[in-house]
Symmetry: C2
Subunit: 192 residues, 2 copies
């Protein structure tokens, strides 16, 4: 079968069983967003109405700090989910921006539609339970790394764990994620 969103469908099928008719229902509820590099998906002050799946590409979440500098808090590459889950769950205004890092296809599922989807295909609760648990595990690890590692160690950890980032993501975004100045990141990269 040719699916509209092959990566999403394959990803869900790694965790739960789906019939062909359930796949049609899923594809009906998701809205595809073809984003140009740097296109904004969500802006501070708006309600984060959707949960986003990266079908292809890379997006990031950031906020503007008090020095008016972008502080990146998360990246999501192919087949990761990203949302401001506080704003999403409460349907309250977000403090974040979500932006395409490169040309990307993102699939958005709105809050109310996600609940309807759970009614129609209850095994998706399992899929999302596993996705949320996985993201929570990553977030617990990130907090530990922030406490534990020096900035240089954080760079080395990130470089070893996710080498593809350095090819795909602009240096200033990585620097912001790691809490480094772009100049210091550039020095570290030269040191290798």
């Amino acid at each position: 079968m040719n699916y509209k969103y092959p990566n999403l469908i394959a990803h869900i099928r790694r965790y739960v069983h789906l019939t062909e008719s359930e796949i049609s229902v899923i594809e009906f509820y998701f809205k595809p967003l073809d984003l140009k590099r740097k296109e904004i998906l969500l802006s501070e002050g708006k309600i984060c109405t959707s949960n986003f799946f990266v079908e292809k590409g890379c997006i990031r979440m950031y906020y503007i700090n008090e020095k008016l500098v972008e502080q990146t808090t998360q990246f999501a590459l192919d087949c990761w989910w990203l949302s401001d889950y506080f704003s999403f769950a409460k349907q309250s205004p977000t403090q974040y921006f979500i932006q395409a890092v490169e040309k990307s296809t993102v699939l958005a599922i709105e809050y109310q539609l996600q609940d309807k989807l759970f009614e129609e295909i209850p095994q998706l609760e399992r899929y999302f339970r596993i996705m949320m648990q996985r993201a929570l595990a990553a977030s617990q690890l990130r907090i530990k790394l922030i406490y534990e590692l020096s900035k240089e160690e954080m760079y080395r950890h990130f470089n070893t764990s996710f080498p593809q980032f350095f090819q795909r993501v602009p240096q200033y975004m990585i620097a912001s994620y790691l809490g480094l100045t772009p100049e210091y990141l550039s020095e570290l990269r030269k040191k290798g």
Copy 2:
């Protein structure tokens, strides 16, 4: 009805419907742990075999940093879930300790039994999906606060958001969670 674990059952029922016989199944699968103050639930190097629900009391997660000092990363009060979700999902050794902060009753569900429970009562996938999403939202917020707030602001935010902590949790644990020395925390508390 008198339930063995009234807080757990009431908490699940806020999110999903349960019959009396389903409640018996749930109560069968959970193992109650009556913990003394400072009793250890999980130690570094062991596999985190269980997901923990605080029926009553307070527990915390910490690791020993390279200066051999306890670094607290999370607290869980009544009706919160806590686990090292990386170790739990992979059944791999943890880098953390989980410890009772005060006399507590904690309900533990083992990894394999949680999966059996999902088979028997599929609507629990929804309950845990919501719990994981809620914990993820809290973790996203915590990362933002770590980036954004000075240590003094972190203290004020925490004091305003969770005043009950300061009555229940020893000062040195709060200091460690906030990244302060106990002396500096004591100064801030005097300033009010």
